[in-house]
């Protein structure tokens, strides 16, 4: 009986979803699209990061290095600074994102082979100071600066080595030097605002959890829609079981959620090369649980909030905002320590982000995630139970 009623509602809801182009679009590929768009926006197009050079060496070679750095796409060398205070000031005023410090004696160091064989500390030394507020571009810029510097030093020392070889240096000595050339410099990185540069790997799993709230937001308007279209009155006047109404309405959303989980998993692995270190069956199971929890809350909103607009706003505040903050999309969590506190708020999206990051990056399993699993179970079951209790087959 309940089953039949549930299927009746599910079929009807499915027709509704497929009839409205906006809804079908939002549900079928909305989450995947959101994942791709946001991740791409964050991952690519890092160009012309403003860079200044603090040149303590002031040699011809250090000048050449500055030109090489400027020649990259990623970096845009805007000039030299003449003191530490000067670059501090530029960083604080956000005039520059990267400071490359060339230590005194750099030119000399790369003109002879002496430094190459000595201790790590005696190698040509570079320091980078970086503004990590925007982790993705910071990381890209830093990588470009390091690679360019390294290539420059290798090139210079390689030329010196070639000269020495021509001048008759012993072959095994040459081989030894060449080996050393593989890591010719000694770098120190001072990350100003974001010590361990959160990378795209961190963002993508979080975005999967965030994108998966879209069906939950969508379902938060279903009862309001019946009310505003005037169809609720006829519906509640039928002997249909009220839990069947709620389950039937959730079912199509549940299915689209699961399809999206699979699509997003593939996109994360293939498009963004994010590693997956957990167990896939467990991941699918937990994703289903997570989807169920968001749908339960969405349904609850739908029952509590009589207008479609208000329901959408409420679910946006509840689902999207904490998820977006936690994802590091706009503000790196390390930079704004209060954001860490969000992790302690028991919202479905928070557990979703933790589970996704944990399973993708850390390879954790049910044992480590038990608390979040319990939280999601409680939210899912309790949410549905309360929704069922509050949903009356009456109109006022």
């Amino acid at each position: 009986m309940t089953n039949r009623h549930m299927m009746a509602i599910a079929r009807k809801e499915w027709l509704h979803i497929t009839r409205d182009p906006m809804t079908i679009f939002l549900l079928a590929i909305g989450p995947v699209l959101m994942l791709i768009l946001v991740s791409y926006a964050m991952a690519t197009d890092v160009e012309n990061v403003p860079t200044v050079i603090y040149d303590l060496d002031q040699s011809e070679l250090s000048g050449q290095l500055a030109d090489e750095l400027d020649a990259t796409n990623v970096l845009d060398v805007q000039g030299y600074v003449s003191s530490e205070a000067a670059y501090q000031d530029k960083l604080e005023r956000r005039k520059t994102k990267l400071v490359v410090i060339i230590e005194e004696g750099f030119g000399e160091q790369i003109s002879t082979l002496d430094g190459l064989m000595s201790l790590e500390t005696a190698k040509p030394k570079f320091s980078f100071v970086i503004d990590g507020t925007d982790p993705i571009s910071a990381e890209t810029a830093l990588e470009a600066a390091m690679k360019t510097s390294e290539a420059f030093v290798t090139g210079q020392l390689g030329a010196v080595l070639d000269e020495q070889q021509a001048a008759g240096m012993a072959d095994d000595l040459i081989t030894l030097y060449r080996l050393q050339l593989e890591s010719p410099i000694n770098t120190t990185v001072e990350n100003r605002y974001n010590p361990d540069l959160k990378a795209i790997w961190d963002l993508v799993p979080a975005m999967i959890a965030v994108a998966l709230v879209l069906p939950g937001m969508s379902i938060s308007t279903v009862i309001a829609r019946e009310r505003s279209e005037g169809t609720l009155e006829a519906l509640v006047a039928t002997p249909i079981n009220k839990h069947a109404i709620l389950l039937g309405k959730s079912l199509p959303y549940m299915i689209t959620s699961l399809i999206n989980v699979c699509l997003m998993y593939v996109v994360a692995r293939v498009v963004f090369d994010v590693p997956f270190r957990g167990s896939l069956p467990l991941y699918l199971l937990l994703s289903a649980l997570y989807a169920f929890a968001t749908l339960s809350i969405g349904l609850l909103f739908s029952i509590l909030i009589p207008s479609m607009e208000a329901a959408l706003w409420a679910s946006m505040m509840f689902f999207l905002f904490p998820g977006v903050l936690l994802s590091g999309m706009f503000f790196p969590v390390d930079v704004f320590p209060f954001l860490v506190k969000i992790e302690t708020i028991e919202l479905p999206v928070v557990s979703g982000v933790i589970i996704n990051r944990g399973m993708f990056l850390q390879g954790v399993g049910a044992r480590e995630l038990w608390w979040n699993i319990v939280v999601l179970l409680i939210i899912a079951l309790e949410g549905f139970e309360i929704a069922g209790r509050l949903f009356k087959k009456r109109i006022a």
Partner: protein, 318 residues
């Protein structure tokens, strides 16, 4: 059988909203097989009454039962046996006629051949065959009403509650509607229909005149009309406007209603007739005819409303 005892329902009254009494102290019994008309103007409380009977609105106080099931405690049992057609189009505007009907069949567990047969039968009934593929929102008002009725009939309900099924429907479709209702009535269904139209009320086997949340009178249309004191005259004259103005001052005339080129006059007794003739003659109105006429429900209704209001005013001022 439907029994309503001292039923009350009010709205608002919270958060400083004005408290509106939608129905107040309603008593009504409807026997199986009746075609009962709940008649009254907008805001009389018809919808509220039908919603309570359908088990989708709780009364504020009092009791109501449908086939022995209480509307509060046993609402779901009522819904099994009931066909309810809301005043507003209650089917899905984004679904086609067929999809809407299939949904209702799903809900009531009508499957396979039985479903196809039932849908055919009902579409024959309501002439909606050629619109099966049309979306609910693309149907005209009259077709939407027919579709709602069709949906309410799918499960052969013993009791039908129809809330203003013919409001906003063209005259031809209205006739068809009443043919259907009469047919259902003769088949033995209990039909309760609400309407603001007095002429429709004449087609019911019993009517309840509702006003301001209360039932003023409840009887067969003929009995209701007989309750009218005095009698009716139909007047034809060369200058009806003037006649109406003149007659307003004449004593013993309860009500004047123009109908095309006729004035319907509700008067105390036959003797008023001579007074009318005299007055009109004095005013220079030429009478073409002045004949006793059968009263209609409309006159009865207006009379009862007027009486009800004066009583009410007296009650309040007392």
């Amino acid at each position: 059988m439907i029994q309503i005892q001292n039923l009350n329902r009010h709205f608002g009254g919270r958060f400083r909203q004005a408290k509106v009494s939608a129905i107040a102290g309603l008593d009504l019994t409807i026997q199986p097989g009746e075609l009962f008309g709940l008649v009254g103007p907008d805001g009389a409380g018809k919808t509220t009454t039908l919603r309570i009977l359908a088990g989708i609105l709780k009364p504020s106080s009092g009791t109501a039962t449908v086939n022995g099931h209480d509307v509060v405690d046993d609402a779901e049992a009522i819904k099994q046996e009931l066909g309810y057609m809301p005043q507003q189009f209650g089917l899905y505007p984004a679904l086609t006629v067929d999809e809407n009907l299939n949904f209702i069949c799903d809900v009531f567990g009508v499957f396979g051949n039985a479903r196809e047969q039932r849908i055919q039968e009902l579409l024959d009934f309501t002439n909606l065959h050629e619109f099966r593929g049309r979306l609910g929102r693309q149907l005209s008002g009259g077709m939407q009403k027919k579709l709602s009725l069709t949906a309410a009939l799918v499960h052969h309900p013993k009791v039908l509650l129809l809330d203003e099924p013919t409001t906003g429907v063209d005259p031809v479709a209205r006739r068809e509607f009443w043919d259907i209702l009469t047919m259902l009535h003769t088949e033995g269904s209990t039909v309760i229909v609400s309407t603001p139209y007095m002429d429709e009320a004449e087609r019911c086997n019993r009517v309840g005149l509702m006003y301001d949340g209360q039932l003023m009178v409840c009887d067969t249309p003929n009995a209701v009309k007989r309750m009218l004191p005095g009698m009716m005259f139909a007047l034809r004259a060369d200058n009806l406007m003037l006649a109406e103005n003149v007659l307003k001052t004449v004593e013993g005339i309860h009500d004047i209603q123009p109908y095309g080129d006729v004035l319907n006059l509700l008067v105390e007794d036959e003797s008023v007739g001579t007074r009318i003739t005299a007055c009109l003659h004095d005013a220079g109105v030429k009478i073409e005819s002045l004949r006793p006429a059968p009263p209609r429900l409309e006159e009865a209704f207006i009379y009862f409303v007027r009486q009800f209001s004066t009583n009410h005013v007296q009650e309040v001022s007392a």
